[in-house]
């Protein structure tokens, strides 16, 4: 029952989470660490109780739009976090957040949370691995951007970031939706305007996915254009971190990869290294044919690649 409520709240927050916060509604999810579905307060006592076998290497897992950390769950109670714990000794920290808020806000909140955790974690943290699924990858990038600007103490401990099905160059479906909504609104008919009103209720977080807007100032440059590429991304990947990109593709056929990607995120967006800055080694970009957006956060095949990247010195 609790798990179903959590999942429902995750969907609701992704859809209208910004409205819930604006109206001070109790259904809005605050950003917090979660373990076995329960929140873990960022205090020394709570963290020591939740992680009695805490290790100096941690992996921070961040879910995507309309999800909770449950999106990573595989049969048998395993997930990328527990597998990395068992295989490489990383302690998994699962972050739950309101995915309807602007990505920039969630990034800033995550940076603040990690700064707090750094000071109260049971053992000194030596390395932080970042693992984001879908929108979660953008939240991680927003967090590292905010941390770089503010000089947050956790950032120097991040050596690698793993992005799983993350739309680095935006999601065309959201951009198409934006244009359709504007067209409906332009038609002088009360019914089409009503449909546009309902469509525009979608959250800030969802709208941010259109162009992968990581900063508030990026949102101001939105245009009503159905472009499939975003060549001038203003927030490059931080050069101090080793970045690793995973993309799914419904098929190995070139036209399927180009048009549909993993059914939600085009391969070009999930592997958008051309627009993300210089120096991203192609060996750090992996495409998995036959892998949908729903399957990619809980696949042993994907995990094997993540493990290999995390095991590298």
């Amino acid at each position: 029952m609790g798990r179903k409520i959590d999942l429902a709240l995750g969907v609701l927050n992704g859809a209208v989470g910004d409205y819930l916060v604006r109206t001070d509604n109790g259904l809005a999810l605050p950003m917090a660490l979660h373990l076995h579905g329960e929140p873990v307060a960022p205090t020394p006592a709570a963290l020591a109780a939740a992680y009695p076998e805490a290790t100096a290497r941690v992996v921070v897992l961040v879910h995507g739009l309309m999800n909770t950390e449950d999106i990573f769950a595989m049969p048998g109670g395993r997930d990328y976090g527990t597998l990395l714990r068992d295989d490489l000794g990383l302690t998994p920290l699962y972050v739950r957040y309101n995915s309807g808020l602007p990505i920039a806000d969630n990034g800033a909140a995550l940076s603040a949370l990690l700064s707090t955790i750094l000071g109260v974690y049971p053992v000194p943290i030596g390395e932080i691995v970042l693992l984001g699924y879908s929108m979660g990858g953008l939240v991680l990038r927003a967090a590292t951007h905010a941390a770089a600007l503010s000089g947050a103490p956790w950032l120097p401990r991040v050596r690698r970031a793993l992005y799983v099905g993350t739309p680095h160059r935006g999601a065309p479906t959201e951009r198409v939706g934006r244009v359709v909504s504007a067209l409906l609104r332009a038609i002088p008919d009360p019914y089409t305007r009503l449909i546009a009103d309902v469509a525009d209720l979608r959250s800030d977080g969802l709208k941010d996915l259109g162009d992968a807007d990581l900063r508030h100032e990026d949102r101001a440059r939105r245009t009503l254009q159905v472009t499939l590429r975003d060549p001038q991304h203003p927030v490059p990947l931080l050069p101090s971190i080793s970045h690793h990109l995973v993309a799914g593709a419904l098929s190995d056929e070139r036209w399927v990869r180009t048009l549909f990607g993993d059914a939600v995120v085009p391969v070009s967006s999930a592997t958008g290294w051309r627009s993300l800055g210089e120096g991203l080694d192609p060996s750090r970009v992996k495409v998995f044919p036959g892998m949908s957006h729903a399957a990619i956060p809980r696949s042993l095949e994907v995990y094997a690649q993540l493990r290999q990247w995390c095991a590298a010195p």
Partner: protein, 94 residues
């Protein structure tokens, strides 16, 4: 019930009230704008323009009354539900 559970219950109540409030306002606007078109045509026909004006006024008054009543009842139900939730989650009842 935990404080989080109570907070969520009150949040659900508020959200449902918001949906009815904003939903009824949106439907009222569509209803009014759609009727406006018909009355605009009637107003352009001299023999029926006068009676149409009267019907238009009555229609608008009825529209305001009906949708306003929906929102009034919605807020009243919301207030009652808030009181019920507060009462049911008082510490001494747990």
């Amino acid at each position: 019930m935990t404080p989080t559970g109570k907070k969520r219950l009150l949040g659900l109540r508020a959200l449902l009230e918001d949906v009815v409030e904003h939903g009824s306002s949106a439907v009222e606007r569509v209803h009014r704008e759609t009727a406006e078109r018909t009355f605009a045509v009637l107003a352009a026909i001299p023999p029926v323009a006068g009676p149409a004006r009267v019907v238009h006024d009555v229609h608008d008054a009825a529209l305001t009354g009906v949708y306003g009543s929906i929102r009034l009842v919605n807020r009243a139900v919301g207030a009652v539900l808030t009181a019920v939730i507060e009462e049911a989650t008082k510490p001494d009842r747990e």
